[in-house]
């Protein structure tokens, strides 16, 4: 073979070698590009396809009464759950489903409960939430849980799963204040980064639960789960623990709350008890009530419909959502308006003949035989309609309306419950302009008479009446009702001195003391041995003339010289304030005194 041919062949082999090296450099450079310069991008696509974020709900903070008594708590709920990834079988999905089903059946045999989930539930779970535990028995009772826990040979892949559940240890107590929770609407979740999965979580739907939801809810935790290609959990990557929600301390005293609720146990109505110098609500009751525990792990739709359609409206917080004609509890407002404007003096006397006629309207006094000629203090004590009609006419409706507004009527008190979706009723203080706008009618003297006895268009919530009562009790400061004592709620506004002559207030207070303490007073049934009280009864008629019904009222504060409590109670369909409500006021004050002596005895021991 000629050597130049050999040379050619060898040089061609060398060329092939060079060519291969060059070609191998191509994937080499691409590898460097991918693995050195763009590794982060590939890692994030890896994470995107294999990392799932699970939202871990935070246990809600507690709601405590002013003594630290727990009114709303979070308890662990024990469920029995299947960890599907541990039961996974190779091959078709139905084999895994069979394995899960078999485990559920075996567990059911151990704990003595019928399986609540079937193959369809298992299939849906695997399709939608495969990396999460599949809850087979939610909130199982302790017997089932302990039977399972003590069983020596537990089926693999089945375990107890703990979730926080809202519970109200005092049952119905203060239900309207506490409110209730409902399943969190995950679609509306305000989190910035979306989660792949949400565990059931509760959010406040009403009352303090809703108004302070942000504080109570805490901070949801998150778990990052690495899933495999089939979507099953591979391992937990990271966990950010949920942060327990803040506790909320209410101004409510659970014992006083219980007194208020007991006083309403046989009636529809509301009661509000206030500390008259701080505006702290000690009790707020509305009857009928409901058990917020029914909402604990999500209320069943049937029960929910029942609560909503109940004619007695148990979810309705009558203390702030209902506005009633105040009847005679409004008379102190009229008296203050007349005295403050100097239209009348304590000595101003009118004659009561058992009724008062103006135009063709007639206003009966409850004392059909008439009170004769009486002066202001006595007229308050006797709650004389004829007197107040004439006083009202003398003073003029505009001054009454102004004074009513000064005392907080016709305007929302601003209680925090309103922030919880529990719309506060502003009540109504009518005047000429209002009547023209709403009824396209002029103001008539009869309207003034009606207003003077708290009937007609005037409407007030029990809370408004209680706050006015507190204002009279403390000598003229209208306070903002306070329901939450947490110190960081510093923005609380103390209240304002009402623009009213102090002597006028003193005169009205004296009249109110006579209402209870005089043997002839309309509120004498509210008298309690050992304490001097002041108050005012009220009876407002409503409904068609052939079936008149009465809202019966009483507001009261005491002790007279140094008031510690101011309250307002309304009872629907009562007989009269003096007969229906006054005994309940007495019952409450007796209870309050008993509590005080119990506390001082306990304090003395300590």
């Amino acid at each position: 073979m000629p050597s130049d041919r050999l040379e050619t062949e060898i040089s061609r082999i060398r060329a092939l070698a060079a060519c291969m090296c060059l070609l191998l450099a191509v994937p080499g450079i691409e590898l460097a590009r991918m693995q050195i310069f763009h590794a982060g991008r590939y890692r994030s696509s890896l994470d995107r396809q294999s990392i799932r974020r699970v939202r871990l709900p935070a246990p809600r903070g507690r709601i405590l009464d002013r003594n630290g008594k727990c009114l709303a708590d979070t308890r662990p709920s024990y469920s029995i759950a299947v960890y599907v990834e541990e039961l996974r079988k190779p091959g078709s999905l139905s084999r895994t489903i069979e394995a899960v089903e078999a485990a559920v059946h075996r567990t059911g045999g151990i704990i003595g409960l019928r399986p609540e989930i079937g193959p369809e539930d298992i299939r849906r779970h695997i399709r939608q939430r495969a990396p999460l535990p599949l809850v087979a028995w939610r909130d199982a009772d302790w017997k089932a849980i302990s039977r399972f826990a003590e069983y020596p040979d537990q089926p693999s892949g089945v375990d107890v799963f703990v979730e926080p559940v809202r519970t109200y240890p005092m049952g119905r107590l203060a239900a309207h204040v506490l409110g209730y929770v409902g399943k969190r609407d995950q679609a509306a979740a305000e989190e910035e980064d979306p989660f792949s999965y949400y565990l059931p979580d509760m959010t406040g739907r009403s009352g303090i639960e809703s108004a302070y939801d942000r504080e109570l809810a805490g901070l949801a935790g998150a778990q990052l789960i690495r899933v495999d290609a089939a979507g099953f959990k591979h391992r937990a990557e990271m966990e950010r623990e949920a942060v327990l929600g803040r506790d909320i301390t209410l101004s409510i005293d659970w014992r006083i709350q219980r007194l208020a609720e007991e006083a309403l146990s046989d009636a529809r109505g509301a009661a509000v008890i206030v500390e008259p110098f701080s505006g702290e609500i000690l009790a707020m009751a509305s009857s009928p009530s409901f058990d917020p525990n029914r909402f604990g792990i999500g209320i069943d739709p049937e029960e929910w419909r029942e609560l909503l359609t109940d004619e007695a409206r148990p979810l309705f917080n009558r203390a702030i959502q209902a506005a009633y004609p105040p009847g005679s509890v409004f008379k102190p407002v009229v008296a203050l308006a007349a005295l403050d404007s100097a239209a009348a003096s304590p000595a101003t006397t009118f004659v009561c003949s058992g009724s008062f006629r103006i135009g063709n309207a007639e206003f009966d006094c409850w004392q059909t035989t008439g009170h004769g000629a009486i002066a202001l203090e006595k007229a308050i004590e006797q709650s004389c309609n004829a007197y107040f009609c004439q006083l009202g006419l003398l003073c003029g409706h505009q001054r009454i309306a102004d004074m009513a507004r000064e005392l907080g009527f016709g305007e929302r008190t601003g209680i925090v419950l309103a922030a919880g979706g529990m719309t506060e009723n502003p009540g109504l203080v009518p005047d000429e302009e209002w009547k023209k706008r709403r009824l396209r009618e002029g103001w008539r003297p009869g309207d003034t008479c009606n207003m003077s006895i708290g009937q007609g268009f005037v409407l007030a919530t029990p809370l408004q009446v209680a706050m006015m009562c507190a204002c009279l009790a403390n000598g003229g400061t209208l306070l903002t009702p306070r329901l939450v004592l947490n110190p960081s709620d510093g923005a609380y506004e103390a209240g304002r001195r009402v623009k009213c002559d102090r002597r006028a207030i003193e005169i009205v207070r004296q009249g109110m003391r006579d209402v209870i303490e005089n043997a002839s007073g309309t509120g004498r049934r509210a008298h309690v041995e050992g304490v001097e009280l002041a108050g005012k009864t009220g009876t407002a008629e409503y409904g068609p003339s052939h079936a008149r019904k009465k809202y019966t009222w009483m507001m009261a504060f005491g002790p007279y010289e140094n008031p510690r409590y101011a309250l307002a109670i309304v009872v629907e369909e009562g007989v009269s304030g003096g007969i229906t409500v006054a005994p309940r006021v007495a019952q409450i004050f007796r209870g309050l005194l008993a509590l005080e002596s119990h506390d001082s005895a306990a304090g003395g021991e300590g």
């Binding site: 073979m1 041919r5 050619t8 062949e9 060898i10 061609r12 082999i13 060398r14 060329a15 092939l16 070698a17 291969m20 090296c21 070609l23 191998l24 191509v26 994937p27 080499g28 691409e30 590898l31 460097a32 991918m34 693995q35 050195i36 763009h38 590794a39 991008r41 590939y42 890692r43 696509s45 890896l46 396809q49 294999s50 190779p90 690495r226 899933v227 495999d228 290609a229 089939a230 591979h234």
Partner: protein
């Protein structure tokens, strides 16, 4: 008996050690990652792929030494027998092969499955080395060229019938490199290249144009059938050109393989800690076989993947070194053919793993799980050693 033993000992003692070292390193890496990638579950300790691969590696080493001990000139004389045997296997596989993933590529032999197309490659290298050697100066002549191409195309057609497009493609660089090294005139090489390019464009046109032109599905299928292609092959080509069109099917492997490689970073995630592999995003059916390189790249990072690439480069260079110093033309051609065969596999496999080439289903020699591939590669390397042992330099 003693004579044989002496020959083996002599061969083993005098072999080119760089070649042996590279081959053993690659085999060891392959075994490790076949073990890692054929993970079934925590409970299942048995990894059948791994156990079988050990057997194949041992047999492969035996074949390696045997081939080295044999004089390659004897093998070349017998090359027609190997060639016919390989063709017979290819016919048998078409008749009674095991069908998997829509293709008949495997013969089941006592618990093992063998892939006849793998053995066709070294058989063809041997046959071509003998033929081109005999042809000598007449390579420019049309008759000689036609015979050579006929010998090459026959197994290609049989393999195309299986169908196994990837393996067919690997014959092209083998034949081209051997013709080139045999000293074929430049004119011949250029015209062959031109013909090849035209043929490739025609295939692409058949696959793409009807769809782009908006023909009905039926017409598209008819054209494909006329061209002798299966819809499966069309799909593979289309997936390479536009992986987005089948993200859960064929495009999935490509996408997941790229994520695996890229996320490996510089130093990787650690042996058996590759997420793409352990989480099954890189399908378990392909992780130990065609996509073993992406498992290596993910778990050992650029450091490991570049090292594997370097091992192959060293292997190929020492193979071509042997070619350059071979005692005769047959030896040169044999070494060149084996190097081209290994190079073709390595280049296409790695390029496909990192998304530069279509998903063809070619193994990474010595590393991927698969007995036939290990045996044919080791046989080829053994023949290079045989050439080396009888070369001018010794």
């Amino acid at each position: 008996m003693m004579r044989w033993f002496d020959r083996f000992a002599w061969a083993a003692r005098n072999m080119k050690w760089t070649l042996t070292l590279c081959a053993c390193c690659l085999l060891a890496i392959g075994l490790a990652f076949v073990y890692g990638a054929s993970f079934v579950s925590e409970e299942t300790q048995v990894r059948p792929f791994f156990q079988k691969q050990i057997v194949w590696a041992v047999i492969g080493l035996l074949i390696y030494i045997t081939a080295a001990a044999f004089d390659y000139r004897t093998l070349c004389r017998l090359s027609w027998a190997f060639y016919l045997f390989a063709l017979a296997l290819l016919v048998i596989v078409l008749a009674m092969g095991v069908e998997r993933y829509g293709a008949r590529r495997w013969l089941a032999v006592g618990g093992f499955s063998i892939q006849p197309s793998e053995f066709a490659k070294p058989a063809l290298v041997l046959a071509l080395a003998a033929m081109l050697n005999r042809a000598g100066e007449d390579l420019g002549a049309a008759g000689v060229l036609c015979r050579v191409l006929g010998v090459a195309v026959l197994p290609m057609l049989l393999i195309l019938k299986e169908p196994d497009l990837g393996t067919v493609m690997i014959f092209v660089p083998i034949v081209a490199a051997m013709l080139f090294a045999a000293g074929a005139p430049r004119r011949t090489l250029l015209s062959l290249t031109a013909i090849g390019l035209i043929a490739a464009s025609v295939v692409l046109a058949i696959v793409i144009v009807p769809e782009k032109a908006g023909m009905s599905e039926d017409d598209q299928a008819r054209i494909l059938k006329l061209a002798g292609m299966s819809p499966y092959q069309k799909k593979r080509i289309m997936t390479f050109l536009d992986p987005g069109r089948d993200p859960l099917g064929a495009g999935w492997n490509k996408l997941q393989s790229e994520i695996a490689v890229g996320s490996g970073g510089i130093f990787g995630k650690g042996f058996m800690k590759g997420d793409q592999n352990t989480l099954g995003f890189l399908p378990r059916s392909v992780a130990p076989t065609d996509f073993i390189f992406s498992v290596i790249a993910e778990e050992t990072g650029f450091a490991g993947s570049a090292a594997v690439l370097m091992l192959f480069a060293v292997l190929l260079m020492s193979g071509l070194n042997v070619a350059a110093s071979a005692a005769d033309k047959q030896g040169r051609l044999l070494c060149t053919g084996v190097a081209a065969m290994i190079f073709g596999h390595v280049f296409i496999n790695i390029a496909m793993t990192i998304g530069l080439a279509p998903i063809t289903g070619l193994p990474l020699p010595l590393v991927s799980y698969g007995g036939s591939s290990v045996l044919s590669t080791m046989a080829g390397l053994g023949m290079i050693q045989s050439v080396y042992l009888r070369s001018r330099r010794r």
